[in-house]
């Protein structure tokens, strides 16, 4: 399926994004989007370019939700 033409999630306009607000954690975001907080690693892996630690996210950060 045209994988060679498919851009990474970072440039795919259909990849969802979420703007972090105060009190958010990756687990909370995973709960909202996936219904399962344990899937926070999916969000962390998709945002390794801006996150170095899954426990450290900051309000105002725009995260990709794969």
């Amino acid at each position: 399926m045209a994988d060679d033409k498919t851009p990474p999630a970072a440039t795919n306009p259909y990849t969802q994004t979420y703007l972090v607000v105060s009190g958010d954690t990756l687990s909370k975001i995973a709960q909202t989007y996936y219904g399962d907080p344990a899937l926070y690693t999916k969000i962390f892996q998709a945002n390794r370019d801006v996150l170095s630690d899954p426990n450290k996210i900051s309000p105002g950060q725009k995260l990709r939700i794969p």
Binding site: T6, N12, Y14
Partner: protein
Amino acid sequence: MKKQSAWLLASLAALVLVGCAGQKEPAERAIASAESALATIHDTAQKYAPDQLQAVETQLAGVKDSLSKGDYKGVLAAAPALTTAISGLKDTAEGKQKDAEAAAAQAKDAWGPLSTDVPNMVTAIQSRVDTLSKSHHLPAGVTKDGLASAKSGLNAMKTAWSDASNAATSGDFTTAVSKAQAVKAQGADIMKSLGMSSG
């Protein structure tokens, strides 16, 4: 007196024959000219105005029938209408050909963005479906049936996208764009069902 009448009748018959013979060549020329004109536009007319072509061919066949029966006068009388019909057919076929070529060029332009847009959409949906399939609980607004439906819809999208790509590869951009737009519309519905905003 009897001799004179016979001579007169013979003379009249000869005049009619000469007159008819004089019309035969123009009649044959008129039909040859019509056939030649029709031959030059036949393929285009067959593709873009088949019904009108059939009507003109029927008209031509009628005139040729008159020729075969020696009705040269009838042929010459019908020739102008036949010429007009062929000219009208030419205008219609060439007009429709021009419109079709313009539509094809427009479709080719539309294919460019779609050829990257739809795969992006499929990738995003695939990613979400894969993740939700691993989830122990689904998020609010997404049901098990909804997820199953999204999975089968995604497979249908891939198949339809393959068809669209094949059409584009073969140069049929009109079909390719039509199929791609349908895939995109289906993708938007699936994204909505999974709680995703469509870009």
